[in-house]
Symmetry: C2
Subunit: 345 residues, 2 copies
DNA sequence: TTGAAAGCGGTACCAT
DNA sequence: ATGGTACCGCTTTCAA
């Protein structure tokens, strides 16, 4: 019982007018093109009656614009990314754009292929957390005048707009705070990754430790998937036990912290009396955990806002000068129970 | 420095052959159409050289197929949905399909509008968690022969394939388990929702309580957004305190449980000695919480598998009989510390 | 073995 | 004020 899909042609024929007229009415150019009110009304009513909707596909093909923005992140099931996705979607919607999400899983091949696919679908803009090895692809995008904004991390080799946070400063502040509470053996658990947000967090930690005359204790974890849940927990446990006995840990991402908490639980280590904990990326969870976990919160709402601002700016000024918009946002440090050392005097 | 986008026409002209020939080579029909090997090779090499990629847009417009499946859920930032999204994406990929996600926020208008939009983009299939009031829209989709599979909940008024879990049985089993551990005042915290997965969970709880001669204690929460975090926690606290003092609670979704845990923490109620806890939808979190929370796990992997199976089946047999595929999957009950009442003898 | 040409469903320029 | 028509990039039938 498939209703035959009705097209602009059918309408024109049915109403005995030309395709052009119908098109003008559809696109609200009736006044501008001085179509008579009578005709306009007639067309409008018929369109409503048969519930005609123009084909976006054909529109895109013809106009070269699709009103779609791609939001390409490492993993859409990660709370950080999916929350920003939702925020962006709202903002895009208001401006007449749709968002398509996708996950790269941090794989360069997958990212490249998806970018290619989306280019071929006339997507209007890209918001991307770049995988490694993506410089050339992004540069191509830029050369072809696609609006692009990177976020979470960026590519030093490419002159592309981005929105990131103060990674180094945030890590430095967190480390300094731990030291202030009396910690001397601060550990840093991060990913074995070249991504510059990770490098910056590392840098902030290392610098602060050295400035205070302490040795660094660093664990670089393999990527998820490369290693099982159980194994990664064991790795963290080993790290905690073999270093000069750690009195605190700074985790570079929230899922590392989750693993760390699982590891500590199994070891029966008490937080914060045995060991203090701070993590990047706040989460409902950390405020609910017993004890509450001190965390560095990224300003999600603001990130989303700046991303859309960056994209829309480029979208609006096609042939204008490329707008430079490299945004570095501050974070918020939530001090909670996991860093409240019991005073021993 | 925008590279001019090259089209099949450019290739044909450059190589001095016809568009048709190029098209055949691109689509791997060279052999079938008996294009000479020499020509085929020449075209293939040139295509590689200029890195030509056909426009999906034009292909879709012409063929009516887009190789895109929409995954429309209530909230893509919810762990349950985003995990299934990721699983589905993999499976789709293998079969040459892309997935577009979107969130309805359970709003009928938004869902309707998005479905309309996607229809106009020649999307090939729909995987949907229906919002209320979506019967007509879904029926239209079906009438127009779009492949559709519903999940999480379904619409009794529409004869549409779906993949759900044994909601009533799972709730009944969980309730029975609580009773078995000695609970008499079992509370049930759910959403004020007509969605049948919620209704079924409620039914399972009520039935089991009545069968055992106990009174029911039910709290129907307003939807997220309609009420602040703080308010909803207060509502739960009030529920716990005013009923005939509850000795256990079954939460109908994981985010309700999270709120419940926050509420209990503030009340300083001890789990499980003061109150036992069970929740629908397992999560890494529940295994990490102190104490570990007993949970009803949905078989995410299996759900994703069945969903894709259902869609692909319909996709492959366009004009064949509509395949009936209504799948109801079992859940897994993880008994953890939150339901281990200390024996009082 | 290859090519011409008719569309898919629109947009918008140029006539009238 | 309204209509004719070329064209976006590709697929596919039919003809040569």
């Amino acid at each position: 019982m498939a209703k035959k899909k009705i097209s602009i042609k059918d309408i024109a024929k049915e109403l005995g007018v030309s395709i052009t007229t119908v098109s003008f009415v559809i696109n609200g150019k009736a006044k501008e093109k001085r179509i008579s009110d009578v005709l306009t009304l007639k067309v409008e009513e018929y369109i409503k009656e048969v519930n005609y909707k123009p084909s976006h596909l054909a529109q895109s093909l013809r106009s070269g614009k699709s009103k779609v923005i791609v939001f390409m992140v490492e993993d859409i099931s990660n709370y950080f990314f999916s929350t920003i996705a939702k925020l962006i979607e709202e903002k895009a919607y208001v401006n007449g754009y749709k968002i398509i999400y996708c996950s790269t899983e941090n794989k360069p091949e997958k990212a490249k292929e998806m970018i290619e696919t989306f280019k071929n679908r006339n997507v209007d803009g890209f918001i991307i957390t770049p995988t490694p090895d993506l410089e050339v692809t992004i540069q191509e995008l830029l050369d072809e005048d696609f609006p692009v904004v990177l976020f979470d991390r960026w590519l030093p080799a490419v002159d592309c707009n981005y929105v990131i946070i103060e990674n180094e400063k945030s890590a430095a502040d967190a480390t300094a705070y731990l030291i202030k509470t009396g910690c001397k053996y601060v550990g840093f658990v991060t990913l074995d990754s070249d991504q510059n947000q990770m490098q910056d967090r590392l840098k902030g930690y290392v610098k602060t430790m050295l400035e205070n005359g302490f040795q660094t204790n660093i664990l670089k974890m393999s990527y998820e998937g490369a290693i099982s849940e159980r194994e990664s927990i064991e790795v963290i446990q080993k790290f905690i036990q073999t270093s000069p006995k750690l009195d605190s840990i700074l985790f570079a991402t929230n899922f590392l912290a989750l693993k760390g908490l699982a590891a500590l639980k199994q070891l029966n280590s008490q937080i914060p009396s045995d060991i203090s904990i701070v993590t990047f990326d706040d989460h409902f969870f950390f405020n609910l955990y017993q004890p509450k976990i001190t965390a560095i919160e990224q300003p999600l709402e603001l990130i989303a806002e700046k991303l859309m601002e960056g994209i829309l700016l480029q979208l609006k000024n096609d042939n204008d000068e490329a707008h430079t918009m490299k945004v570095v946002l501050p974070t918020k440090f939530h001090i909670r129970e996991s860093t409240m050392k019991i005073e021993k005097d």
